[in-house]
């Protein structure tokens, strides 16, 4: 059970890392236009 004392703080840190990753994605505008990027290949301009 002692491993919990390591794993729980580790999971908290992991969550913070994942949140940082999400921030990076949002800040780069990856969610600004979810449908448009897929349709772009169909446009001819």
């Amino acid at each position: 059970m002692d491993i919990l004392f390591l794993l729980i703080p580790f999971s908290v840190v992991l969550v913070l890392f994942i949140l940082a990753g999400l921030w990076w994605a949002v800040d780069r505008g990856q969610f600004d236009d979810v449908e448009g990027e897929g349709e772009r290949i169909l446009r001819n301009d």
């Binding site: 059970m1 919990l4 004392f5 729980i8 703080p9 999971s11 908290v12 969550v15 994942i18 949140l19 999400l22 921030w23 949002v26 800040d27 505008g29 969610f31 600004d32 446009r43 301009d45």
Partner: protein, 769 residues
């Protein structure tokens, strides 16, 4: 991004609001217009986007803050579209003054119609998404930490492990409270500082209380607030609320924003031919009349103009209501706001900015989207006393439960605070009406007056004007009589060759008759021609441009020297040197969809009337063909008005359909009015609804849409009132845990907006409701 921003030099940078730049009069036309052109110190009307507004109560605050500034004449804020219309006197106030006043009240204004507004909106929506992701992710993890505590039997878990889980929950709740909840706290704090009650105050109080109670339980489990943790509830309801808000704003952008999308159709920049013949990209507001532009397929035309190189087709759905692309060959006129869907063309600019028909349409729609319908004002007035009652109820519930269990008492108060949803109440009407106005605009009917949707839904009598409404402006060739030996077709060919040179309605009817039958121009070419105003045309035609000429006269019986036909209808005659050649009887051209429209209106249960200024016989003839039983001819405008008042005195709600020009007073007196905006400058069309195209069948569609709108508004209001009436007592009784309260509130506003969104998608020409 740099490229876009550099097109708008002199505007305040996104990070630093240098509003003094807006005091330059050269910037004012960018987001408004002068109400008294010519007077530099006159009144201006400006359109701005309000940031940080969450609900209708905010609209009140912004209006009050603006009105406090001396020199601001009026301020109207629309909660659903987040736009404000400010009228201010340039002599006594500068824009920076009221921009600052509004910022001091906690809301930033952005001049509408510049690109910063959309860049800012993109930033806001990114931030909202990020807040939602943080809340969602932390919620999931906090649930994991809460789960062992729920399932563990006494003695299963060491107290150290339990304490570790509490701390972990607390750490992951911190970002949710500090970051994801900040919009709620900020707007509640703003309201408190102004000694007002806003819609976010109860929610923010609920969040703060939950966090304080749970934090106390984490670090001091033996304390007075008990040892129960609510981090899981807290993160969950924050997540639900943010989900609700996020979806709501997405939907609002799709429905109320449908209007926005229509208004923002003009491109920001366009390719213009420079002095050296090369094309370069310039901002649209730098254009001048006479410039040559290159417009690529898929781009919108930025100005009214004429195609000078190339052939294309244009999608003019917004401008004329015509849903199919129309051919625009070299030499044809193109309209600002229509889309080039064919090929690359070059266009010479003929009219710009406020002179275009597009600008008139936008001005109409902006004004309509800022109005507050009666039902919305009622709901807004009810919102404040309601909030006050909720705060009192929450305090009362807490006091009642305190004796039994202080921790539980606080959670009951939290549930009461969170479950109440005045937002749904104040969104109910504007969301539905704006969604409907957007759908109507896409179908070619502009709503000039949102309130009129309510009147239109109650209409039981529809009165038509005749000319230009039930019938086309141009008559139609009905019958041809010709001299022995002259085939009627040849007579039409001769007449059309002459008539092609004239713009008289009768001439247009003859040309139209020829073009309907044949694809080629008439074989005869005029070599010499004179038009005698009010009488007719006289000219010499030659076949194929060569050979001997043939002298012909086309016009009234007297002009041609022949005897008039003994018929009631309009007639044109053709004669040559030997006398009479042919006579053409013209009939008023009933619109193709007139009979179907009348049938649809009667199927909806309307009485249909025709009031016409033409002779009784002509009016009856048209009425009979259109299937209208109730008809009155020989009406002066005064007669029409008297007849309308008669009908209204009988308790009928009347919708009037006219051309918007000669029947202005009649239109103004009807409960609801439609004008056919083809011939009329839109700003002068004196009607609640302006029909942009030529199709009559949008009228039953619009009435059905108005009825649906009112039905949705009523459903929304009942839903919002019923939800609060049921949930608040449940929460006071202690039967509603905070997480369920959060879910309920989010679902309630979402239901209202979703219900309104149903109106946006309906096709207009669906016929009877």
């Amino acid at each position: 991004m740099e490229a876009v921003l550099s097109l708008a030099p002199g505007l305040p940078a996104a990070s630093q609001p240098a509003w003094s730049l807006l005091d330059d009069p050269a910037e004012w036309p960018g987001f408004g217009r002068a109400l008294e052109p010519g007077d530099a110190a006159g009144r201006w009307e400006s359109q701005v986007v309000v940031e940080g507004m969450h609900c209708a109560a905010c609209a009140f605050t912004v209006e009050a803050a603006l009105m406090q500034v001396p020199g601001v004449v009026s301020a109207e804020v629309n909660a659903a579209s987040r736009r404000a219309r400010v009228v201010w006197a340039a002599a006594s106030v500068k824009p920076s003054r009221w921009f600052e006043a509004c910022a001091a009240a906690g809301y930033r204004l952005v001049p509408a119609g510049d690109m910063l507004a959309s860049a800012r909106r993109a930033r806001e929506s990114r931030l909202a998404l990020w807040r939602w992701l943080v809340a969602g992710f932390c919620m999931m993890q906090v649930m994991m930490y809460a789960y062992p505590v729920y399932i563990a039997r006494p003695g299963d878990m060491s107290s150290d492990a339990a304490q570790l889980l509490r701390w972990a929950s607390w750490v992951l709740t911190l970002p949710v409270v500090l970051f994801s909840c900040s919009p709620f706290f900020r707007s509640a704090w703003r309201d408190l500082r102004q000694r007002r009650i806003g819609m976010d105050l109860p929610v923010a109080l609920g969040m703060a209380i939950t966090f304080v109670v749970s934090t106390a339980a984490t670090f001091d489990p033996e304390g007075p607030l008990g040892h129960a943790l609510y981090f899981d509830s807290l993160t969950m309801f924050v997540f639900f609320l943010l989900t609700g808000r996020w979806l709501e704003s997405r939907l609002r952008e799709r429905t109320a924003g449908a209007l926005d999308a229509l208004m923002n159709r003009l491109p920001d920049s366009v390719l213009r031919r420079g002095a050296d013949g090369d094309f370069e990209r310039v901002a649209v507001r730098r254009l001048a009349v006479g410039d040559i532009l290159r417009v690529l397929p898929g781009e919108a035309f930025p100005a009214d103009g004429r195609v000078v190189v190339g052939d294309t087709s244009a999608d003019e759905a917004l401008i004329t209501g015509e849903s199919r692309p129309v051919a625009r060959p070299c030499g044809a006129r193109v309209l600002a706001g229509s889309h080039n869907v064919g090929a690359v063309v070059e266009v010479r600019v003929e009219a710009l900015g406020p002179d275009t028909r597009f600008a008139q349409i936008v001005a109409l729609m902006e004004n309509a989207s800022l109005q507050k319908p009666r039902l919305a004002r009622l709901a807004d007035r009810a919102a404040r006393p309601f909030l006050l009652a909720v705060l009192v109820a929450a305090a009362g519930a807490a006091a009642w439960w305190w004796q039994a269990d202080p921790g539980k008492a606080l959670m009951v108060a939290v549930a009461v605070l969170i479950v109440t949803c005045p937002c749904a109440l104040s969104l109910a009407t504007p969301a539905a009406m704006l969604a409907s106005a957007g759908a109507l605009a896409r179908g070619g009917v502009l709503v000039r007056n949102l309130q009129a949707l309510e009147s239109l839904a109650a209409v039981d009598t529809v009165v038509f004007d005749k000319t230009g409404t039930l019938t086309r402006d141009t008559p139609r060739l009905d019958r041809v009589y010709s001299r022995q030996g002259v085939r009627p077709g040849d007579a039409v060919e001769l007449a059309a060759a002459l008539a092609a040179q004239s713009l008289h309605p009768a001439s247009r009817a003859l040309v139209q008759a020829w073009n309907d039958q044949h694809r080629l121009a008439p074989d005869w070419v005029p070599v010499q021609l004179a038009e005698h105003a009010g009488a007719g045309l006289e000219g010499t035609l030659s076949r194929g441009g060569g050979g001997a000429g043939r002298r012909l006269r086309l016009g009234s019986a007297a002009f041609c020297g022949v005897a008039p036909l003994a018929v009631q209808a309009a007639q044109v005659h053709l004669s040559d040197d030997q006398g009479w050649v042919a006579s053409f009887v013209l009939a008023e051209d009933l619109r193709a969809d007139a009979a179907a429209t009348v049938a649809a209106l009667e199927a909806q249960g309307h009485a249909v009337w025709l009031l016409s200024g033409d002779s009784g016989a002509a009016a009856r003839e048209v009425a009979q063909r259109a299937g209208i039983a109730l008809v009155l001819g020989d009406c002066t405008p005064e007669d029409k008005l008297a007849r309308l008042k008669d009908l209204q005195a009988q308790g009928r709600a009347v919708a009037m359909v006219g051309d918007g020009l000669n029947d202005g007073p009649v239109l103004a007196h009807a409960h609801a009015s439609f004008a056919f905006g083809r011939a009329v400058p839109l700003a002068r069309a004196n009607a609640d609804f302006v029909v942009l195209g030529a199709a009559l069948d949008v009228i039953p569609g619009a009435i059905a849409q108005a009825r649906r709108t009112l039905r949705v508004v009523r459903q929304n209001l009942w839903w919002a009132a019923g939800y609060n009436a049921v949930c608040v007592p449940l929460a006071i009784a202690g039967w509603l845990p905070p997480w369920l309260a959060g879910l309920g509130m989010a679902a309630s506003s979402l239901a209202v907006v979703l219900n309104a969104a149903r109106l946006a998608g309906r096709p207009l020409r669906a016929g009877a409701a």
